[in-house]
């Protein structure tokens, strides 16, 4: 517990700093609002509606799944990379097999047009 105390303190300071900055700038900062300032930034589109339950294109989910695939891969690869020397060649080949299977999935997704937006 003692060993983790500095980490806890650092975490509290980080959260506190972020919350504090936002709070102070909200309280102290000058606010001179006009319609242009409240509009969408630069060339952003005016939002047409924010109805609850707005329908998203299913393509976003495809991208999200693709992201998940690589995310999970990264989760596996990081700890593997730390202990690679102890795992030796067997560990290397296991990761090659794992990445190979993911690679097949990726090639399949590209081949099926998963990365084409329209």
């Amino acid at each position: 517990m003692d060993a983790m105390l500095p980490v806890l303190i650092l975490g509290l300071i980080a959260v506190g700093f972020a919350a504090g900055s936002i709070a102070v700038s909200n309280l102290v900062g000058p606010k001179r609002l006009n319609p242009t300032k409240l509009g969408a930034y630069e060339s952003g589109n005016e939002p047409l509606a924010d109805v609850p339950g707005t329908r998203f294109s299913v393509k976003f989910y495809l991208v999200a799944m693709l992201f998940l695939v690589f995310d999970v891969e990264a989760v596996f690869v990081y700890p593997w990379a730390v202990v690679l020397r102890e795992l030796g060649w067997a560990g290397l080949w296991q990761m090659v097999a794992f990445v190979g299977i993911l690679g097949v999935a990726f090639v399949y997704e590209i081949g099926r047009g998963g990365l084409e937006w329209d």
């Binding site: 030796g88 067997a90 560990g91 299977i101 097949v104 999935a105 090639v107 399949y108 590209i110 081949g111 099926r112």
Partner: protein, 549 residues
């Protein structure tokens, strides 16, 4: 690392590799040899290396599949779905050969049945081998059965065979899984593949319903099961089933925690095998899914889920047998009675078969309740006989569905015995087998299960089983009666208008594809062979009734 022996998972590795290759083939467009040639050459090299290393049979299988891979696009040019079907079928045949090889080695001199491998995650025992046989055989029969059917419904996407392969891998792995993590992974592999397969007909409302219901109820069941497993790990401190079983035998384990874990695991597994109060998803899912997928669910998934139930009950929870056995007996009795009675009032053939699968889950559970080596062998035998019987029945349903273009109800098959006696004969044979009439496979399985139940002192359960068989025979015979005793609707003078006469002409034509005929005939032949010559299967079951404990 030396204890990771690939041979112990040879069929699964082969089928997984084949699924990946078929996925690549599906996206290879006009240049299939870009995928198949390297794969083929690599497999031939690997096979030669394995043969030289002493593993002759697996090496030969890998090498032959390597030869077959580049030949597929050459022999079947321009027919990608047929290439996929042949590829999947050959891979499953290879997996079946490897399973036989595994069993032969394990049962032969110097072999070991009942050891663990892959650091305790895999059991090399009779249950694993038997589940593999049932699963790979069912999947192998389902592919040719479904090919023409899916083609006609225009839902034969290239992903079908890889998904069937992956589902079979998950099921076979579930039969061999010896720790909680492997069980969950195997269960999810098979479930995800089946969710997609159930929703294969995306434009069909029933198929959507089937997929969604299966997904939601399956996910809930998985969550419940997972929660139970987490508590089990908390209580015993081990993930491996034999260690859990040993820990539960000691008095140091907190009883309340184990009780909750037992209930949660039991509910989760009962959901997966569709025992009575947890079967509600089965009829809708079975009805809506494409019929070949339904056949796979009924035949193979049931065997895999029962392998999980057997292993959980006999390896992880033997110390609590006095607690779960009566509860499971009640579930089994409820399944047998409810399934049989509910099927009586159904009109759709797929729903009837779904309720019949609930009934059969009850019969198979008798062997689990018996808690004996005989019971283990009886349940394994029962699952195999049920698989071949239901495959033959679903094969005929597919045939009728293809001919009549729509749902197969009792009205659809009226007079089938006149218009196509062979189909009606096979369906009647399959139903007799499902009803457990002597000289068919179903009788062998049912007799074994009942015998194990009586030997273990569960006479009341067996009596209920016999009663439910009588009720079930009622609806099986009703189907047979509709087929053989009633006139075909077209032949009846009152209803015969011109349009139906045209259908009638069509109905007499055997429009079956070779694959469907061959697979259905093979299932029916297996029903007969096992029914007439049960000694071989029973001998194998007796020798293979070995569990890693």
């Amino acid at each position: 690392m030396s204890d990771l022996q690939p041979g112990q998972l040879a069929p699964e590795l082969l089928a997984t590799a084949a699924a990946l290759v078929l996925l690549l083939l599906a996206v290879s467009r006009r240049r299939p040899q870009l995928v198949m040639l390297p794969v083929g050459l690599g497999s031939i090299a690997l096979g030669a290396w394995m043969v030289l290393g002493g593993a002759v049979v697996p090496g030969a299988v890998v090498g032959l599949l390597g030869v077959a891979a580049p030949l597929l696009p050459v022999l079947l040019p321009g027919r990608p779905t047929l290439q996929q079907a042949w590829g999947g079928g050959l891979a499953l045949a290879g997996a079946l050969v490897l399973t036989g090889w595994q069993l032969a080695v394990a049962l032969g001199d110097g072999g070991a049945l009942g050891v663990t491998g892959w650091r305790g995650s895999i059991a090399v025992d009779g249950l694993a081998g038997f589940t593999r046989i049932t699963v790979y055989l069912s999947a192998l029969l389902v592919i040719p059965m479904g090919y023409g059917y899916l083609q006609e419904r225009r839902i034969n996407r290239a992903e079908v065979e890889p998904l069937i392969l992956l589902a079979a891998v998950g099921m076979a792995l579930l039969g061999a899984a010896n720790d909680l993590v492997t069980i969950v992974v195997a269960l999810e592999v098979l479930s995800f593949a089946l969710y997609v397969l159930a929703g294969l007909a995306r434009r069909d409302r029933r198929s959507q319903e089937s997929s969604l219901k299966y997904f939601v109820s399956g996910a809930v069941a998985s969550a419940v099961l997972l929660y139970g497993m987490a508590l089990l790990y908390l209580a015993t401190g081990s993930l491996e089933l034999p260690a859990i079983g040993a820990a539960l035998g000691s008095v140091l384990v907190p009883a309340a925690l184990v009780a909750v874990a037992l209930v949660l695991v039991a509910v989760g597994v009962a959901f997966k095998v569709a025992l009575a109060p947890f079967h509600l998803w089965a009829p809708d899912v079975y009805q809506g899914a494409p019929t070949s997928v339904t056949a796979l669910m009924a035949a193979a998934t049931k065997a895999a889920a029962f392998a999980l139930l057997l292993r959980m009950a006999l390896v992880a929870f033997p110390a609590l047998g006095d607690v779960w056995a009566p509860a499971l007996a009640v579930l089994a009795a409820a399944s047998m009675l409810y399934g049989a009675v509910a099927a009586l009032v159904q009109a759709d053939l797929k729903r009837i078969l779904a309720y019949s699968s609930v009934t059969h889950a009850g019969y198979a559970a008798i062997g689990v309740v018996a808690r004996s080596t005989d019971g283990l062998g009886a349940t394994m035998t029962y699952l195999l006989t049920y698989a071949v019987g239901s495959l033959a029945a679903f094969g005929v349903v597919i045939a009728v569905e293809r001919r009549r273009r729509g749902e197969v109800t009792l009205a659809t098959i009226r007079g089938l015995g006149r218009t196509s006696p062979l189909l009606a004969g096979i369906l009647a044979l399959a139903l007799l087998s499902l009803a457990g009439i002597p000289l068919t496979a179903g009788f062998v399985g049912k007799l074994e299960v009942f015998r194990a139940g009586v030997a273990a002192g569960w006479t009341w359960l067996v009596v209920i089983g016999v009663l439910s068989s009588v009720v079930a025979a009622g609806f099986y015979l009703r189907i047979a009666g509709v087929m053989f005793l009633e006139e075909a609707p077209d032949a009846a003078p009152a209803t015969g208008d011109a349009d139906e006469d045209g259908d009638d002409e069509d109905a007499r034509l055997p429009v079956l594809s070779t694959g469907l005929s061959a697979a259905t005939a093979l299932s029916a032949a297996l029903v007969l062979v096992v029914g007439l010559q049960p000694a071989l299967l029973l001998e194998l079951a007796a020798q293979a009734s070995v569990l890693v404990r």
